[in-house]
Amino acid sequence: MNPPAISLLLVDDDVSITGQVGAFLTRAGYRVQTEADGARALEQIQALDPDLVILDVLLPGMDGRAVLRALRAGGDRRPVILLTKVGKASERALALEEGADDYLNKPFSARELLARIRAVLRRAHDAPVPLTSAWKLTAGNLILDRRARRAVLNGQTIAMKPKTLALLEYLMTHPDELMTRERLLNAVWGWEYPAGQRTVDTRVAELRRALGDDAGQPAFIETAPSEGYRFIAPVQGEK
């Protein structure tokens, strides 16, 4: 007998999304249930007890952020992926405040969503506190204080440009995940542009210099040849 499938609740009021994306995720082996209304989604989460919730931000009844806030306020720590329409930096910061485990901009590809679901579920099993909503991240002798926007290495604060710090933040909140340059551009810069690939490489090189990380024998950031980067040090999160 097969082990019971992992269950997902997909909350979006657009049937073309719940229909097609739902079908894609079902084919990937998940048990998928859908809901179109925000307030009802909150009830459904209690009733169905899904392993992961995919929440659109714009919903009738109660918007996705409010659903997430209500969930977290009630002490529910189950993984949530937010689907946002606009990838503004301010909205990304909001997603962190509200305790989302990851967020994805529309229009996203179903394959990308699947990769995120897998990564979030894997992380949820290892980490007591979801890294995406932790205020302090520790990887060996490196500490990132997200509230103070400060990185400390061996007790010394390291000077970093805001964008470089944001890059470190994204890498540390998604450890051991392969980060393509497109994904980093999308998440940290908020958009991809043609010259962007090189922009990412330049920033990663800057970050490595700041961390004293050797690209040949990295302690923190590993290069996946022709694919992207991976944060390889284990990361602990603290509230």
Binding site: K88, K163, W189, Y193, A195
Partner: protein, 313 residues
Amino acid sequence: MIRKLLISATPLLLCLTAGIAVEALAPRLPLLSLEISAGWLLVLAGLAAGFLTASFFFLHWWHGIRVESAVQAEKQTQVEAQNRFLRRLDHELKNPLTGLRAAVENLEESASENLLPATLPDIRLQVERMVRLTGDLRKLAELEEIPLEQSAVDLGDLLERIVEAAQAQPLGTGRDIRLVVPRVPWPLAPVMADEDLLGSAFFNLIDNALKYSRKSDAVEIRAANHDRQIQVEIADSGPGIATEELPRIFEELYRGANARSSEGSGVGLALVKRIIERHGGTITVHSRMNGATGSIFTVLLPASGAGENMTKR
């Protein structure tokens, strides 16, 4: 308000100063003997005051009309620009949607033949077109509000990297791209800029120069110190842009005759312009379609304070 009051009081003030001046400078001018009763004097004073008030109100009213018509005209241009934008957006979406619709209809009507492998790439292509378009439109809107991460940027280094990136992509292979950056006797003054954003603007310009010219055409990027500004020219020997199209090419979704069949989203130059303007700079274009054909895009950016002592005295 005060200005208008002053304007309407001008004739009175002029007479007053002229009278005082005449009395002071040439008191021996023939005396005009005029007998005037207190009553007439009162009437005259009343007339003067009345004239003053009337002209004040007239000026007020006239100025109001002028401001209103300027506001109206401004509103009109905005409405026109918005309508133009909506028409172009409609047009941009129509083509991929028509393609998608036909692809889906093909699939629906041919359950027996296996059209899927042949149709899927087309569907994917049209979808990616619309994804790119909405992505670029979002960037355009976001550009108004995102904070710039400013630092002193060496434009020479930046341009070198951007040219390398442009040359590394398929469009750039085997192309003649020349970069001229002054190093002697002094280098380019630094520019306070968001390096990533500014880099993407230059990349876009170079990319365009490559896209809208033949493989045998040359592309030249020339940077120079220009008083307290840095000038960067992106020049190509392509077919050039028609004079009537030049004022429109920086508008969102505008496509020139030459760009109609092109892959881009039609937002590239509008994005470039906004990026340059957010850095306090300007962008202009010159083009020729006869003789030595080609286009020159000229970007002017303010040099940062550190560079000011390097400019000429």
